[in-house]
Amino acid sequence: MMYTMQDRRRFLATLSSAVAAGLIGPSNSVAQEAPPETTTIRLARNRSICIAPQYVVGGLLQAEGFTDIRYVMTDAGMGQSKMLASGEIDFTLHFSPILLIPIEAGEKISIIAGVHVGCFELLAIERIRSIADLKGKTVGVPDLGTSSHVFVSSMAAHVGLDPAKDINWVRSPSISPMELFADGKIDAWLGFPPEPQELRARKIGHVVVNSSVDRPWSQYYCCMLAGNRDFIRRNPVATKRVLRAILKATDFCVSDPAGAARRMVDGGFTTQYDYALQTLKEVPYNKWREYDPEDTIRFWALRLREAGMIKSNPNKIIAEATDWRFLNQLKRELKG
């Protein structure tokens, strides 16, 4: 029975590929591998290290013909999306919902691939054992509209809470919410690497949700590769080359996490080798081929609607702001 299912899935996948191949047509010709239209590429860097593939991709981008690779300092939330839309950065791996909110507002961002799941952990005091227990509790966030606020709101709405009324948000732009939690000033906090690793090492709090392993969050991409829409339109060859480099970098994170962690330290993206290595071993970086990125858009668009953060239906976002051409080509060209 198992084999029958597998065969059927494979048959359908093959059929889809064949149809896609037919539709893409000439783009699979040798001519598509022209040099990139631009040799400059600008990527985001910020305090999140779960976007490790973006930090170890330098050598692979050089191999793709990029000679001027720049990292532009961004925040880890909505500001990064805005910089992407305005063209201050060309591409970034970013948390899906934080891309969807500005996309709905008309920002020129295109999502071109899902890259990895996981990253986020909700840590809380002992009394909080589930998302529903957050009702009436204090949750620390750097600000409203940040990744952690959007994610906790989505989780809360998903279990029937009203995130605006049922949770006491503690906004802390200057002091890290992690420190507030460590000092016992808030009840819960959602963080991304390296902070949850650090708090766990300090044996503070306990993990209520780990988005790498806990459903439904673990079934959808956390970070997707998004680009400035005008850049993608003007530079299709460069776009494909960037995506290929990112996918190879993602594989490098899986094949050689110690080497990737070392690269991140050497590149100045983090000073904490141990937490970087732990992150690389814990975050599932091997899922880029497994999940359907459209499912992720659909899932998060619905969660954001539940939380009252967007109004669009998922199909509109998919139609206007996704471009899977490059991913579909690379799925055929890069196996493994």
């Binding site: 040798v30 594989d251 196996k335």
Partner: protein, 199 residues
């Protein structure tokens, strides 16, 4: 009337048997797989084999060739790749060497001399009739690795970290598919190699 019916039935049964036999003999899924894409002309190289002979990619025109990058001192995941290719080498039977070849290029040319590569190859049962292990100057190696899209870099302690990438080049010298890492399916790899012989 009855004879015609028996004849029609016989034709039907024969056709069904033929179809069944064909579906058994054909590689599984082969008829459903779209042809491998044509990515680009494969990057040329001119390097030195494990027995000191010059080798270029052009030497392989007319054959399907799998190009991969290794280093003999690697103790983590590299030792998975070469045995896997050795397994596929054995599965290919008479096609190996005659129609299909493997090329393993070191990314650690300073330590992987021709002699070292020869010992390494022998330890994995490589058949030199169809499998070459190549080295060259650091510049030549860096150049070919980069053009195939492989990242390799020397660390402070002298080790080399690199990405894994195995590329299949068709008999016309066109790069057709690349396999990331070392976890790819050997059966799919073998099927892809054979599919190019049939084009």
């Amino acid at each position: 009337m009855r004879a015609a019916l028996i004849l029609a039935l016989a034709v039907l049964v024969t056709a069904a048997c033929l179809l069944l036999a064909l579906s058994r003999d054909a590689p599984q899924h082969a008829s459903l797989e779209p042809p491998l894409p044509k990515i680009a002309p494969a990057p040329e190289f001119a390097l030195t084999s494990q027995d000191g002979a010059p080798v270029t990619l052009a030497d392989y025109r007319g054959k399907v060739v799998a190009v991969t990058f290794i280093l003999t001192m690697c103790t983590t995941t590299c030792p998975i790749l070469t045995p896997m290719m050795s397994f596929v080498q054995d599965q290919l039977g008479r096609d190996f060497g005659a129609k299909i070849s493997f090329v393993s290029i070191t990314v650690d040319p300073e330590r992987d001399t021709a002699e070292v590569l020869q010992q390494y190859a022998q330890s994995f049962g490589a058949n030199f009739a169809g499998w070459s292990f190549l080295t060259g100057t650091p510049e030549a190696i860096r150049d070919v690795a980069q053009r195939y899209g492989v990242y390799a870099s020397k660390t402070a302690n002298g080790d080399v970290e690199h990405t894994f990438l195995t590329s299949i080049v068709d008999p016309h010298g066109i790069l057709r598919v690349q396999y990331l890492g070392v976890r790819f399916d050997p059966e799919e790899f073998r099927r892809d190699l054979l599919s190019l012989l049939k084009e």
